[in-house]
Amino acid sequence: MRYLPLSSDDRAKMLKKIGVQDINDLFDDVPRHALLKGFLDLPLHMTEMEVEQNFSAFAAKNIAAGSVPFFVGAGAYHHHVPSTVDYQIQRGEFLTAYTPYQPEISQGTLQTLYEFQTQVAQITGMDVANASMYDGSTACGEAALMARRVTKKKKVILSGNLHPQYIEVVKSATKYTDDNIIVNDPMVETTEDLINQIDDDTSCVIVQYPDFFGNIQDYSALAEALHDRKKLLVVVTTEIVALGAIKSPGEIGADIVVGEGQSIGNGLCYGGPYAGLFATRQKYVRQLPGRLCGETTDAEGKRGYVLTLSTREQHIRREKATSNICTNAGLCTLAFTIHMTLLGEKGYRQLAKINHAGAVKLRDKLANINGITVLNSTFFNEFTVRLNKDAAEVVEALVEHDVIAGLPISRLYPKNKELKNDLLIAVTETTSEDDMDILVEELKEVLK
């Protein structure tokens, strides 16, 4: 049986129908220099064993987060995931990335999604959470779109201390809507500045908490100012463990909370797949994007789970759906749910405490080094330091000694000269005191 069912005739007909000469015209949007010319220079064949050896050699060129002192965070964090999580998610009943298309037949899947929603609503301090989005950044894009549906206004103000990649995703998500996206400069804005920017056209202000540089700000006054004018506060949390230690976004007055759930249950995996968290107030539930699981009773009075409020969704409302995201990150949310269940409220709070205590310890060690200024007055498990040298060069130098010192801010802000000496450093429960001491010694040496 042929796997590709199209004949050249079929292709020619389809191209003619859509008015395209050649199939390559469909790839016009890909920059020329990125397109492959000709065939890859690959050997004709190799045995399975040879392929394995080849790829192991490639893999050995990487430095895995768990194998060296490792201090990179910036939206994805190296935490310990109990082995139980991996065992449970691989059960055949669970092992799929999808919510099922005939959902009610899969009561176990729906129940775990319901538990997930409950956990997310509780840690964010919100009334209701959906069954997840792709990841934190796409959830952030959806939040901007939802704020517009609620307020019917189209100006979105993005804090300059929002993760720069999240800023890019919001821009992409609104590329073909006529939303007006305002982006502030990094590291300089105050809450007061954001309040002054709110005008009649504003739908929402999107802030990060703790912010990209690690600072923890109280946005209560911002929330109040927004609510006075019927605008929404969107709070983004990229390190979800932080909510075990700091006031929940709900308590601050957030209307929509989005988050990256990777820290709980999921490994770094080169940036994905992760689990996007999305929570809001009950009064906005019908504008919530994505799937929502509800608990109910069946005809015999027994507890059961359903996908609820689905008339908002694509399969019934088509082009008027609240979102065109019709699936979620099921397996990653399952890992999140299992890890969170293992932790419990007490364990979650304790995990947060350990993370913060570790970061404080490292901050104290670094603060005494000549050539390092700690920029944060508040932080959870991540903070920014200003070095007396180019941070990217320092990180490169330490990589040679098998130490991954953190993220040079310039990696994400290549054009901003003022940030070129700044280094973002994260500490988690996996960071040992030895790791910290090695970093301290290495930095002392290179900053001398």
Partner: protein, 124 residues
């Protein structure tokens, strides 16, 4: 007072320069149990045929189109808590909103009760 009907199964009851709008018995019956009604805001302005409101039942979500051009003067806030009013009393307590009737000619394009009855009979 005169009641007019649209092909989208909305009714508008005109008293003076204000029309009260709802959906018909036929529409509520076709939709089934109504669980949510999204009403416009007072002060919003619409042209005839604009999407004003959304009604959501257990089996479908449908748009409500403005039968006339005008400004919203009142909305039925009871629907927020009790959307089932549209099922129990589509032509009474289940009204959606009130709108100014700025151009009476537009009413001529709508049906009266007799024509509407014939219209829905033709749908069955």
């Amino acid at each position: 007072m005169t009641i007019y009907y649209s092909e989208d199964h909305e009714w508008i009851n005109v008293e003076g320069s204000i029309g009260t709008v709802g959906i018909t018995e036929y529409a509520q019956n076709a939709l089934g149990d109504i669980v949510f009604v999204e009403v416009p805001e007072v002060g919003d302005e619409f042209a005839k045929g604009d999407e004003v409101s959304v009604v959501e039942s257990v089996k479908a979500a449908s748009e409500i189109y403005s039968p006339v051009t005008g400004e919203i003067t009142a909305v039925n806030e009871d629907l927020e808590e009790n959307a089932a009013l549209v099922n129990s009393s589509p032509d009474g307590d289940g009204w959606f909103f009130k709108v100014t009737v700025s151009n009476k000619d537009e009413l001529e394009e709508l049906m009266d009760a007799g024509d509407y009855k014939t219209f829905i009979a033709g749908l069955e």
